[in-house]
């Protein structure tokens, strides 16, 4: 393969500086389309280029892919709203609070993070005590678990922050039902009541649902990204960039965000998000906040190593963005995400099971 790692930051740089589109030749447009496809960011790229008047720079061959991605993202938004109406009908009689998480929340709020976005699943948060009733009503409405073996069942029920993923029998939509925001096995156990107390009801058509407070929404998405495997890291970080840009218009947001993160014991992922989002998307974080982030960082890892790790993890998953050490970086991220998710004895048990018992 020629030109390995030739353009590791092409996609991110066009997303943050759309005027660069005017300078791209055909080879660069090719790569931009591949990378945005690999990162699941083509709909967002279409929107960014169009809203800045740069879409016409795209050659015809690239344009048709961008236009199709936009069409698909519009269909996704319609489908998510359709599913939310159904979930409202199913869950309303239970009289419990139901919080929409991540994509579903952005979509119901018409947040700018939802524009052009593809939705792979719908995530909701309900009180743990309500899980049996929620599951029963969902089952009657055609939502069934896709992970059905005994080990997976135990993995989710005993160790995770969600029940086994559900899928609708006719539409194959995926639904994740959470009872807290982090796996309890990670050792970080914020009180879920904190999130329900701070949650905000939505207005109008979606008033049955709630969303996390703006600080919690950022913290949750930050945890999801920085405790995870970075499969869609660049996409998740662009979501966060959109949230931070929106919420940050209010100057009081930034201190409230860091205070809340301290209170929940989740300062590190928020520091990571702010640093990486500034690095990659030029997020307008006030200098007073940005300059003091490193003081708050609490990690035993050397700073250069984390910088190297995130640099590789936040590239599009395409060979045109990969360097020689990128596969190793991805392996490190995979190992790190499991390390953060569970204590060592449990991790060894889990890995042994995956390696031997399931073959």
């Amino acid at each position: 393969m020629t030109a390995i790692g030739a353009n590791p930051h092409l996609l991110a740089s066009v997303l943050s500086k759309p005027d660069l589109a005017a300078e791209l030749d055909t080879r660069k447009w090719e790569r931009l389309v591949w990378q945005s496809r690999a990162a699941e960011l083509m709909g967002q790229l279409h929107h960014t280029l169009r809203s800045t008047g740069n879409l016409d720079c795209a050659p015809e061959e690239a344009r048709r892919h961008l236009d199709a991605a936009w069409t698909i993202s519009e269909k996704h938004a319609i489908a998510v709203r359709h599913e939310l109406r159904g979930l409202q009908e199913i869950l309303q009689p239970l009289g419990i609070p139901v919080i929409l998480l991540k994509g579903a929340a952005y979509c119901a709020q018409n947040n700018r993070a939802s524009i052009g976005r593809i939705f792979n699943d719908i995530d909701i948060l309900v009180p743990k005590s309500a899980l049996p009733a929620v599951e029963e009503r969902l089952t009657w409405a055609g939502w069934f678990a896709t992970h059905t073996n005994a080990y997976d069942e135990r993995y989710y029920r005993d160790w995770m922050h969600e029940i086994p993923p559900l899928e609708h029998k006719n539409r194959a939509t995926a639904l994740d039902v959470h009872h807290t925001i982090l796996p309890p096995t990670s050792g970080i156990r914020p009180d879920p009541n904190d999130f329900f107390t701070a949650a905000k009801p939505l207005a109008g058509e979606w008033s049955f649902f709630k969303v996390l407070s703006r600080e919690d929404m950022v913290i949750h998405s930050a945890c999801h990204l920085f405790f995870g495997e970075f499969h869609k890291g660049l996409r998740d970080l662009l979501d966060l960039h959109a949230l931070l840009t929106d919420f940050g218009a209010d100057n009081q947001f930034w201190d409230a965000l860091l205070d809340r993160a301290d209170h929940l014991g989740l300062t590190q992922p928020v520091v990571d998000v702010l640093q990486q989002s500034c690095r990659i998307y030029n997020t307008p974080v006030p200098a007073s906040i940005r300059d003091n982030l490193q003081i708050r960082a609490s990690t035993r890892w050397p700073r250069w190593m984390r910088a190297w790790l995130f640099e590789h993890a936040l590239r599009p998953n395409h060979y045109s963005a990969a360097g020689v050490t990128t596969p190793f970086g991805h392996w490190m991220i995979f190992a790190r995400s499991h390390w953060l998710r569970m204590p060592l004895p449990l991790l060894i048990y889990h890995i042994s099971h995956k390696l031997f018992a399931e073959k």
């Binding site: 447009w29 090719e30 690999a38 990162a39 892919h65 199709a68 698909i72 269909k75 599009p316 045109s320």
Partner: protein, 290 residues
Amino acid sequence: MAFQGLRIPCGPFNVSIHSDLETLACVLHKIYADFPIADESVYVDFEVQLKAPNHLRKFVRPQISFSCDGRIPFKPLPIGQAFPMLEWGLNWVISSHAHSYLVIHAAVVEKNGRALILAADPGSGKSTLCAALVHRGWRLLSDELALVDLVSGNVLPIARPISLKNASIGVVGAFGADVELSPVCHDTAKGSIAHMKPPAASVDLVALSAKPILVVFPKYSKDTQLVSETVGSAHAFLEIARHTFNFSVLAGDGFDAIGRLVDGVRACRISYSSFDQVIPEIERLWRETE
């Protein structure tokens, strides 16, 4: 290294294929022999890779994985199934991205600039019938995906290899010495699979689209009488919509395009048990419609 960045046309797209697999290169060389290899100046729509899912799987029960721009649509398969996997992968590339077209699960052949669409469920004998018609001089547009342009209503040729399953492999192989087949892969998800090399004349005319005038819903069953009946346009509409992969993506535009397609064609359902029954019947319908 077998080939890195082999650029070939794939319906409305150009794909660049990367693989280290020598055996795959041999089959590709034989079955795609008449395809033009595009030079560096062409716009590449998709990067496609076939490689082992991990280092272990290069040696222990070797497997192969298909990926397209970082996405992996299928689970890895035994290395012997690399060529069928490439073909399924390329079909996936077209059916999940060619949204300027209705993508219909159908075979299409052409004569005198007009197209015949054969739409059917898997196992109905669509590809075998397509191979038989192509062997009798019809031009191959596609054995698997009919691409109907949303604006012009014409079918865009793909002219990739014809996929044959189980008993069909022997049937098509017996057409004559001029039929070239890939090595048979046994025990795939669809049984035994082989691919027929598309005729050079069909590959040469891949840029020439055709207006559809006849849609046939074929159904092969053993020991059956020939039954041929005209299908009403409402029924034909629903049947085509059911076979359209991107109907939900195209929504209103797709609905209108199927409506225009159905208005411009005659639609028939044919049950048959032999080529001697079905081909004269198709030729009779064709003469009447043309």
